[in-house]
Amino acid sequence: MNADNFKTLVVETDLLILGGGMAACGAAYEASYWAKKNKQRVTLVDKAAMERSGAVAMGLSAINLYLGLSKGNNTVDDYVSYVKNDLMGIARKDLVANIARHVDSSVHLFEKWGLPIWKDEEGNYVNEGRWQIMIHGESYKNIVSEAAKSALKELGEDGAYYERVFITEPVMYEDRCVGAVGFSVRENVFYVFKAKAVLDVMGGAVHVFRPRSVGEGLGRSWYPPFNSGASTYFTLKAGAEMTCQEVRFVPVRFKDSYGPVGAWFLLFKSRATNAKGEDYMEKRSSELENWAPYGTSKPTPANLRNYLMLLELEEGNGPIYMRTDEAIQKLVAEIPDEKESRRKMKELESEAWEDFLDMTVSQALNWASHNIMPEETPSEISACEPYFISSHSGASGAWVSGPKDLAPGEHHWGYDNMTSVKGLFAAGDAAGASSHKFSSGSFTEGRIAGKAAIAFCVDHPEAFEISEEQTAAMKERVLQPLKTFQEHHAYTNDEDVNPNYIKPRMFMFRLQKIMDEYAGGASVGFKTSGALLTRGLEYLQFMKEDAEKLAAADLNELMRCWENVHRMWQAESHIRTMLFREETRWPGYYFRTDYPRMKEDWEAFANCRWDPESGKWEMIKREIL
């Protein structure tokens, strides 16, 4: 493929939304409305097809964030306390509250748009847990993306979306973000998007760490393999301050296929035990006192539940089982009438299978392949590999402004969800320290950011001339892997083995190996130390140099090259922030063996920033307000 043979297309807009998942759809939905009233243009760019892009591509079996404010079921403060405790005190109350006060509105919209939500006999939503409601969510993303597209359509010529365009870099004008560049993964086109405001909603990062399965199962990550760190890279490269880059998420899921456990724990009231049938949460409850006050609060933070399980495995008490058989039998035994109890069994069976079929079909296939009937046989659960997402129980992302009426002091700087870079906004997995937003909260945060970004566009009507030299230089840089391949591939008899370049696949494996072994991956029981992290960082510097020699034979491989550059930056910010925080605060996510306890002086945010001018990293400790 000839790198010189690329057209350049320049697209001008006012608000540029980068991404196509839940947060991006929320942003497009909300921004379109305010854009129409204020004569602004909105353009969305997705690397895939919106109908099935992002983490909800497969569907979901529950909406994990719904407060039921209108019925007085919960308060915003209840939710904020829950989130803060789950993250061991490290959370932005203003951001969590902002999402929580609006999220019910999003869920009510989903229902009106056609999402089937389970109802009880009185017509109320069926709760899975306190904050979770059950849905028939196979087409959740189809429905939400249709609403976003319809909203864009209301703008007529001023609303547009591009699919299959992969975004690589921010376009900067001095200290302001004024666009993005990328390329089509279908045709030889380099895109330059010019905008007044840019909203980064490109999801979290998977495959930074080596997954537990490395054959075909490499792709069976819990969070999707196509979420590859574009959000973090984009904000970092723009010079934005980042937060909680050390707060990875390690979910516990059904082993290997990573099926969800929420419904089993919450809806079916199942227990998890070690191989001897002991409930390790009870057996090891005294360990939680070492992590007080968070460890001794209810519910126990996700990372500490992981930690007790990891201790159990270290002692040789595995496998760990979800006692699905026991849970189902118990629920059926509660019904004395035989006919009624048979009906209940049928209903539970269907619910159990739907839980997987709606969102992790592989787990259903895993059960079928192993002849597992959940009502008869327990299933193994295990900790997955680490992921970077702030929509679940991780927290990594950009440091963003909170809302004027909720954010204390320095946590507000003008526009909701604007990063420390003027004109650059972030939401969903791209915005940090506001965990537990899940699908509904990500959509909602996208709405909040979308409205604020339109306000920014109205307040900042000035247009900037981006020079042709600037875009030409970016084009050359973005397409370089094609050129490198072109120049050198004929030298050897195997295009994948060539001393002049590295292909993205091996580049990814090298990154995963470094992260797994030095930065506390699954194979080392999530343990690391200052010495290991320092060594890992040294290896990453070699990778950064070799990144200049990535090679791509086609457009698909060009995308893979950039995905892995994005992952590498996510990795570096992660290692640097773990080094900076000299304590262990989330022992079930990672454990610093040289600082094995939580420290009072680290009851703070660990932030970082890469300076685009000097190319140096700055570490910043910020108070929790």
């Binding site: 009510h108 075909e216 792709g219 392949s369």
Partner: protein
């Protein structure tokens, strides 16, 4: 393997303006072999087994063979997705078959009204009130 294409059933979406699986795959894995006019998964170890290609294929030519790393042979999970529901056939390794049917949407595709009948309480761009609020809360 994980997703695979049954040669006999794939017609390369010749009646459509684009290949359905190629259009939908969130990881850009499905491609059309121009010589054989059959689609294929170009990187099976990057496949999330999300079933988007299986569900959208107009000739039901795509199935999933579970990751060989950890799944014994013989299990099959196959959906049939209609406009308002999805039917699943789950065949176990021991040949037991279970069938499930679930609703997927309550309104026809293409009929969504973004405001869904709610009204927005303010025109103020600087207020924290979002589109359709407070009505939709």
């Amino acid at each position: 393997m994980p997703s695979f294409v049954i040669n006999e059933k794939c017609d390369g979406c010749k009646a459509q303006d684009r290949t359905a699986c190629q259009y939908i795959c969130p990881n850009d894995l499905m491609v059309l072999d121009r010589e054989t006019n059959k689609a294929f998964n170009r990187a099976v170890d990057m496949c999330w087994e999300c079933y988007s290609c299986v569900k959208i294929c107009p000739t039901q030519a795509i199935e999933i063979r579970g990751y060989a790393d950890f799944m014994p042979l013989g299990g099959v999970v196959q959906p049939l997705r209609s406009s308002d529901s999805i039917m699943w056939a789950v065949r176990f390794r021991n040949k037991v078959v279970k069938r499930f049917k679930f609703p997927i949407r309550t309104k026809p595709e293409g009929s969504i009204d973004p405001d869904a009948g709610f009204t927005t309480g303010t025109e103020d761009l600087k207020s924290p009130v979002l589109r359709t609020e407070p009505d939709s809360l």
